[in-house]
């Protein structure tokens, strides 16, 4: 079997009437960490949402191939059950459903197996400690009243628990302080192995300081304008995107 996990082929995506992605090509192999950088409005978040087929976006051309299968028209939950995870920029608040119950339920949906509650809680507690999360959050309603940082850490917690093959982190670092960014990086390191992959979407590269990244793609106006390695991120940190804008 090929080592390719996911491939975007000439992907065009609209948000409403407006074309956001104008032909994206991207290939991610197992064991790799990719980064998409780009100025505001370049289509970074759209890329993430298009992979998970968020109904707010429409694919007008191109393909999303995941493990050799075209997943263009699968429903978000079907894609999630195949092993794609997305960390949201603005995680939704769900009153009345605790973090524990939610994750237990989601884990059961993803694995299709019953979840052993005590073992599960222990696992959860372990991850929460690693992520410097308050264990009391386990029993709080999902994301309700969480601070920005708590919400982002909770996304990383979900990633660790659900253990996907492809984790897409959409601006998980934005709005976080240095310590929180380090914690998120730690979470990614804990998650990462040779059989899975990570796609990090960011517009600053603080999060990259603590991670070893394989590829950096620069997205401008709905297209990948250049691809490089970690040095490219450093260059952008110093000089900005102006060089790549038309």
């Amino acid at each position: 079997m090929s080592n390719t996990l996911i491939e975007l082929k000439d992907l065009h995506v609209n948000a409403g009437e407006k074309e956001i992605l104008k032909g994206i090509n991207l290939k991610i192999n197992k064991g790799e960490i990719h980064v998409i950088m780009g100025p505001n409005g370049s289509g970074k978040t759209t890329t993430a949402n298009a992979i998970l087929n968020n109904p707010e976006y429409t694919k007008t051309a191109g393909q999303v191939i995941y493990e050799g299968e075209n997943i263009n028209d699968l429903k978000p939950d079907e894609i999630a059950r195949k092993g794609v995870f997305m960390s949201f920029q603005l995680p939704e608040e769900i009153p009345g459903i605790s973090v524990t119950n939610f994750l237990k339920y989601a884990k059961n949906k993803i694995t299709g197996e019953p979840v052993k509650i005590f073992q599960f809680k222990d696992e959860l507690k372990k991850y929460m400690e690693e992520l410097n999360m308050n264990p009391k959050n386990m029993d709080r309603s999902l994301n309700v009243g969480f601070s920005g940082g708590e919400k982002k850490k909770n996304e990383i917690l979900q990633m660790l628990v659900l253990n996907p093959k492809l984790a897409i982190l959409d601006e998980t670092d934005s709005g976080l302080d240095v310590d929180a960014i380090r914690t998120v990086s730690k979470g990614i390191e804990m998650f990462k192995n040779e059989n899975n992959a990570v796609l990090i979407i960011t517009h600053n590269n603080k999060i990259l300081h603590n991670l070893k990244v394989d590829y950096v793609h620069v997205l401008v106006d709905g297209k990948v304008v250049t691809t490089g390695t970690q040095e490219l991120a450093t260059e952008i940190e110093n000089n900005g995107y102006s060089k790549y804008k038309k």
Binding site: L52, N54, P55, E56, K75, P76, D77, I79, A80, R81, F85, M86, F88, P91, E92, I94, P95, G96, I97, N101, F102, K104, Y105, A106, K109, I110, V115, I117, S141, Q158, L162
Partner: protein, 466 residues
């Protein structure tokens, strides 16, 4: 996205019809002769007979409500107001006739008693068929019995309070209740006695084209504390049934009462119920209500805050499906300084159902330093249903903090996408959000009832949360 089918509540357990196997059923309609006959059948003392006849006069004078749901389908000439089951009041399950026992078994009543209740009462049609309470409570002077026994054994107490809290001229169906009431529970908790476990009364209306008019009178003396639960259900018939109960709660200084209701009447029921609490100094009454059944409901419990520092909270949810019009809400009258009321009302409308939140918060000139905060949330699950919020806020003095907030809308697409990205199907996602929406109410109920309520909400939904 395709519309989710959030299924109708599976009512099988509730809909099993017993044979209409009564001992006595009064002829249909409401006349002086009928009221006299009921009084005779029930062996009323003279004062009660007179009370009934007076109430009937008031009933005949009062007009039907000029607001709220359309009650034109209710024809009192088609309702039998008194149906006596073929049994006496029993103190042991073994003595309850087999068919009635089976009904309550199916509803899980005796099990609940064993597990977590301090006492149980069960009413079948117009009469209470079973009553029991833990021995140690009897020794502490707690009274828990049916209203008829109470009239015989504690006439002074009953006379002092019976329909004083809710006067018969309050509205037409209270007057009707006064004329034909039968059954219900009487509870007396002496000073400083605190019950650790709840008392529960369950009301079952089996007889077709009939009415249930139980009267519940609860007196919680100074410093005492009680949790009372009522449950109600009926099988579905094609013709209209009527429920016009009356609940009177007297909660004295420093006392506490929690009154929980799970209402699951069948969808041919007109539920025109009246509930009121008189709350003394530093006392508190909490209402927890889940309304799922009935064709039409009009029910607005009233907390009258009479003593300084009195408190009340109302936590309620209504779920209206096809053919249902649930007009519910709450009334709080602040009559003393530094009183407080908190309202948390939620509703879910689907399949053409209509939910209305109707309320009154009144802060009288005497109630300086009072606080009231109201929050209403309505969820619409499709575009053929209706959800209305009709709150009246009557603020008559300046030293108050009053706020009211309401929101209406559907489940956000963004939230659904978030949950689907975690592997939940769209149906699961919506069901989870609805359960979360109802959680603030279900968490206030004892476990068995929370489970029953969750069953009522999502018996038919795919998957359940652990």
């Amino acid at each position: 996205m395709a519309k989710t089918q959030v299924e109708e509540i599976n009512r099988n357990v509730y809909d099993i019809v017993d044979k209409d196997n009564y001992d006595f059923k009064i002829e249909k309609g409401i006349t002086k002769e009928i009221v006299e006959e009921i009084s005779k059948q029930k062996n009323d003392p003279e004062w009660m007979r007179e009370f009934r006849l007076k109430a009937l006069e008031v009933y005949n004078k009062l007009e039907m409500p000029t607001w709220g749901p359309d009650l034109s389908e209710l024809n009192m000439d088609e309702i039998a107001t008194y149906v006596r089951p073929k049994t006496k009041l029993n103190n042991s399950w073994d003595d309850v006739p087999e068919d009635i026992k089976n009904t309550f078994d199916r509803l899980g009543i005796p099990e609940a008693e064993k597990k977590s209740l301090a006492g149980v009462g069960a009413q079948y049609d117009s009469e209470v068929v079973y009553h029991s309470m833990k021995e140690d409570l009897k020794k502490q002077g707690v009274i828990y019995t049916d209203m008829e026994t109470a009239i015989r054994e504690y006439p002074d107490l009953v006379k002092q309070y019976f329909m004083k809290c809710v006067p018969v001229n309050d509205h037409k169906f209270v007057a009707l209740h006064g004329a034909v009431w039968s059954g219900g529970s009487f509870v007396y908790v002496p000073k400083n006695v605190k019950l650790d476990f709840p008392l529960q009364s369950y009301f079952r209306l089996n007889s077709p084209e009939s009415g249930q008019f139980e009267h519940t009178l609860i007196i919680v003396e100074e410093g005492a504390s009680l949790h009372f639960i009522e449950g109600c259900s009926a099988p579905k018939y094609s013709k209209i049934n009527l429920h016009a109960g009356c609940v009177e709660l007297i909660v004295k200084d420093n006392a506490y009462l929690r009154y929980s209701t799970i209402e699951n009447w069948s969808k041919n029921m007109m539920n025109l119920n009246t509930k009121k609490a008189m709350i003394g100094k530093n006392a508190q009454v909490d209402w927890v209500t889940g309304s799922f059944g009935s064709k039409i409901s009009m029910l607005y419990p009233l907390s009258q805050l009479n003593g300084e520092g009195a408190k009340t909270e109302y936590t309620g949810i209504s779920f209206a499906g096809e053919g249902q019009n649930l007009d519910t809400g709450f009334k709080a009258i602040h009559n003393a300084p530094n009183t407080s009321s908190v309202v948390n009302a939620k509703s879910i409308s689907k399949n053409g159902g209509k939910c209305t939140y109707r309320s009154l918060i009144k802060i009288s000139p005497k109630a300086k330093g009072s606080k009231s905060s109201v929050s209403c949330e309505s969820l619409m699950l499709d575009d053929i249903s209706v959800s209305d919020t009709i709150p009246v806020n009557d603020i008559q003095t300046d030293e108050v903090e009053f706020s009211h907030e309401a929101k209406i809308g559907k489940i956000s697409d963004k939230t659904i996408f978030y949950l689907m990205s975690r592997g939940l199907s769209e149906e699961d996602a919506k069901a989870m959000i609805v359960r979360g929406f109802a959680y603030p109410i279900s968490k206030e109920l004892p476990v068995e009832y929370a489970v029953e309520m969750n069953n009522l909400i999502n018996l038919e939904l795919e998957g359940t949360i652990g």
